[in-house]
Amino acid sequence: MTVAVKEKSLAQPKKSFWKRFTRFIKKNPAGFIGIFLVSISVGCAIFAPWLTSFDPGKASLVSRLTPPSWSDPTGESTFFLGADQLGRDLFTRILYGARISLMVGFFGVLISLVIGTILGLVSGYFGKWLDDFIMRVADIQLAFPFILFAIVVMSILGTGIWKIIIILGITYWVGFARLIRGQVIALKEQEFIHAAKAIGGTNFTVIRKHILPNVLSSIFVLGTMYIAEFILLEASLTFLGLGVDPTIPSWGGMLADSRNYITTAWWTAVFPGVAVMFTVLGFNLLGDWLRDRFDPNMKM
């Protein structure tokens, strides 16, 4: 990894860019690490087929639980990070797993972001009974046990990765709604909003042109952090028996299903854990940095 950094630096012809780059790292080491880790997982997700010669679905019970090639006493293992419970290459599964985890994180957040933003804007802007109503619905959503909610949704819609994305998306709109509502209430009292209304702007245009742009950065920050949380929640769902089809290489599924192997085939539990840790840490650091940059006083 250090080599990669160096190469990148040498390959930069423009000194000014390099200067800016180093200054950035110096000022925001955490932000840099965040961007770096997130880019690695995104890179793994996009380039998975080119980074490995194995097929993530190709199983062979003969190579079940083969240790990683560098820690195999017999020296026969050809699997860089070992093989899983069905003899599939763990490295390949983890690379492809990035796709699933990022998909859960990204689309899950997209759903909750859209619902939460709309409801938050409406609630904060119009206030009164609409605000009361939306906030009480939020209370109901929060008080309803997540697991029960997941079981009920799954028994209506069936199972699968998209159902999990929907469940996460519907459950977590509350965070966005509350955040946006608070900011809209604050914005509403400001001069420029009054001015915009005074010159005859409709509610819709005021929200779209003057309020939404001012809350976008918070949405963005919270969304980044929620991606991290959703990746972990997918694992928790598998732990509780509500996960995705086991043939799908999801990090959460791998972690939950291999927890009993920790003492006998540690690599099946450790490497997906490391992958999750780096990615989640990456998104959290990225979120932190974005917040520092855009909205340092955000309370969350």
């Binding site: 009480r136 046990p145 697991i147 604050a186 509403k188 991290a228 949380e229 732990f239 840490l281």
Partner: protein
Amino acid sequence: MLTYVIRRLLHTVLVVFAISLIVFFAIRLTGDPVSVMFGAGEPTREAIEEITKNLGLDKPLYIQYGLFLKGVVTLDFGTSYRSGMPVTDLIFERIGATLALALGGIVVAILIAFPVGIISAVRRGTPIDFFGRIFSLIGISFPNFWLGIMLILVFAVTLKWLPSSGFDGFSSLILPSITLGMILSGILARLVRSSMLEVMNQQYIATAKSKGISSWAVIIKHAFRNALLPTITFLGLQFGSLLGGAVIIEQVFAWPGVGRLIIDAINQRDYPVIQGGVIFLAIIMVVVNLIVDLSYSIIDPRIKTGKGSN
């Protein structure tokens, strides 16, 4: 103020009512409790019908719901199908363990988040800030069951310092509290740090510093105070969900809390326990939210006009 309180109380009743309605009908969409009871036995059609009748599950749904609602008003949630015990008793015998874990988690979170948050704010941009933040984020970088199992492997199995499970004295509280606390501390440390920064940029701190007053004294006196309010808000809002939301941690550490009661009841489709448990938690959550909102507007009158007017 009084009308506000009354209005919010009225809303609370509405919320609890809505939750009772949703829970009641939602759990009836996911299978039936009678065939689950049989385990290793013989669920013949006749037997299932008989038990369904005995449990009153053959009555029309609106009648069942009416009976249930009548119970809720008198805080009588009925009897568990599985244990034959009154649901209220089942919940109350677990409150101790649940509170202990929630408080333990909060204490650990504060112990991690305050030092980390304060130091990273004061030494903003230094390596200390950097590593402090990474450290506080470790807890939310793993799924909680994984973190719990790892802690057990390290501190119970390998080092043999602490018990790995159970609800048996202070030592058994440590690992589950750390697991829960580490999850909270990531967000809390962030909160403390940004609250500190907000004040530290202000003029009077700089003035105080320039006057040669020990910078730590100033920080503790002014900045720390500013961090307290959002912390209390955050913990208050989390407290409700901490009571029931630590399900996985309770499962891993065999902790006899309310969360596990509800999840076991869900798995057994023990309707009265699910209904009672969910409503109990909902009441606590809504009430805590209400208290937080009220105290907030008393402590910081800015709230009414909205916060963050800077």
